[in-house]
Symmetry: C3
Subunit: 269 residues, 3 copies
């Protein structure tokens, strides 16, 4: 069953803040569910960058109240055949296009149902083919928030598009990863997770990136001198390279997709 009138809804999109697109989506949500609490996750996902949107969404879902609805729209194929989707998990509900955007977040809680949103009676009348956030996803989210069961909103399906982070490569004595996100500070976030290196001590690791070598992991950003590079486990649980009080992306001339190598220098911990 739905979340009741005081549902929390989050929004994530590639819409930016300039053109009123996000505000209009919120208008539709409030018209359908006047009590909804609406929280912005990000609207500055790079246009068409489904992976970036999937990462930001996955980093956020665990911090919201139970039964929160996460509406996410990075949707380069809006209006074409791609399916509109609702994924109900034990802890939250994900609504958005079936292009992988929801799939990283869907891993973090057991999936109850996957619904193909194919019932136009829950959309705005005469939906456009270019703005499904407004015309399809927001009305459906409002219906769910007000208690319409998922199975009424569409057809139960088994499969949906899943994205995977690029795999890390384990080469004798080292792990090779890739930068997958550059954050607002210019911090470089890669696909190496804390559990990938759980057998090793932080002080035995050495991180190579953009021509520099960083020995050991730091506990926080202020553990090295001004302008010096450091590596740490970040707040998403991923390996991050930063430059103190500066932008690692700019200083090290590294960007999303570039390689990073972690070598083990000491003995196993």
């Amino acid at each position: 069953v739905g979340g009741g009138g005081a549902a929390v809804l989050t929004l994530l999109s590639e819409f930016g803040e300039r053109d009123g697109f996000v505000g209009v989506v919120k208008g539709v949500l409030l018209r359908g569910c006047p009590e909804a609490r609406i929280i912005d996750l990000s609207h500055e996902v790079a246009p068409q960058d489904v992976m970036e949107g999937a990462l930001v969404l996955a980093s956020a879902v665990r911090y919201f109240p139970p039964r929160t609805i996460h509406l996410a729209v990075v949707d380069p194929c809006v209006g074409s055949g791609r399916r509109p989707l609702l994924v109900e998990t034990d802890d939250y509900v994900l609504i958005g296009p079936d292009n992988g955007l929801l799939s990283l977040a869907a891993k973090a809680s057991p999936i109850r149902k996957v619904i193909h949103l194919d019932r136009p009676q829950y959309f705005l009348a005469t939906p456009s083919q270019t703005f499904h956030a407004r015309d399809v996803f927001a009305p459906v989210a409002a219906h769910w928030a007000r208690g319409v069961p998922s199975t009424d909103l569409g057809t139960t399906i088994d499969d949906f598009t899943r994205l995977e982070l690029p795999a890390i490569r384990r080469i004798e004595g080292s792990i090779e990863g890739r930068m997958i996100h550059v954050d607002r500070f210019g911090n470089l976030i890669c696909n190496i997770q804390q559990e990938d290196l759980r057998d090793f001590r932080a002080e035995d690791l050495s991180v190579s990136i953009g021509g520099v070598q960083i020995r050991g992991l730091s506990p926080h950003y202020a553990a090295v001198g001004e302008g010096k590079p450091l590596a740490l486990w970040n707040s998403w649980g991923l390996l991050e390279v930063a430059v103190r009080n500066s932008s690692a992306a700019r200083v090290l001339r590294v960007r999303s997709g570039d390689r990073v190598q972690v070598r083990v220098q000491g003995r196993r911990g």
Copy 2:
């Protein structure tokens, strides 16, 4: 009469997100009307660009709950003689400076009253001459939201400043328009409306812009190959030129104000 305590208020401005201007306006709104639901439309309207603000506002108003208050401030002449205004329509209320900003949105619903907000007892004490959003418009909006009738808030007037979209030109066999907005994606939006071309079939039209010719209109962005230009009716009901998964503004080197031409190539539908 006003909207009651749980009024929905939207905000549109040129204030940006850096300096706390928008937050302060919200503080004043909440002080005056603690139950107000406040939604941002855009605060990234280009500084002093009244037309851009008017377009974004007009595209949004129909999607909000009845009796929503839209507070809009793009206000290069703040503090000078320009009047502060409240326009009450059958469906919503518009509050902002009398410089045309409200006028495109005011077209979409029958106007009940136009009020010159000339009663300082509804402003903050000792209002500044540089920040009327905070000192004049927000307090008035909160009073209206709490039920103060429009006619108490100022003097009823008949006229106010109206903006018009630049007119299209019909030349034998073609229509000439102008680009009026470039959105976040670099999509180019012009002043040609769907009804301007209602006599013709989408497949008979040809759009010339920035040295390229686009044959036919597409139903959505994914209807052409990666990097190819397309034209479509966008979510505002206006003709838009896009480049798939890229920025039409950058690829075609077109900007706001540039001409676009639509030719009819086939016979009438």
Copy 3:
């Protein structure tokens, strides 16, 4: 005692809008205090610019309802020794790192208590060392909002880090200040306050900046011709230099830290 369930909370940070950091902080706040009203002040404070954050916060606090909680995080030394702080004043509560960020806002209302937030039972379990907004400050703010007394949340202390605006210099017949903030419009805001010049008439003053001299203060931005420079008392009560319908920072090639001189040309008023 705390603010009750319907507390108003504001957020100010250096987090930007892209990475979901702000949304996650709001999720934690709503989990702890479902009725909280959350307002963004700014998340575009320049990374690590504690002074800019302190200025924006100080300009805003007086406009919010009584007992508002202001959560502010510009925190280059997160995870190191710097203390997490709660400052309770007669009018509002400030929560953030002890690096001066809260200190300008703390001047505007009598301080009741300063609390070192040293009780992990009020944090998220296993807080990170890189994201205290999410793991420390938001949970504490939610506890305060729900009525946990300040003195339960940590240890009362006497001192905390205070920032001061750079001092103005009074030289025979003139006052020298410094630009301390460039706002979204490119307006240049300096450290000279209205009371610093209370003995003089606006028309007797002359402002020198970036090689130009501006005679007299204007009441508002539209008091000079298009593209002309002007000086005025801005909405923060500080001396500001603007260029009508343009960016003073760009036109005058002035930036934060640059000097500005005010000379008195006429006789005292």
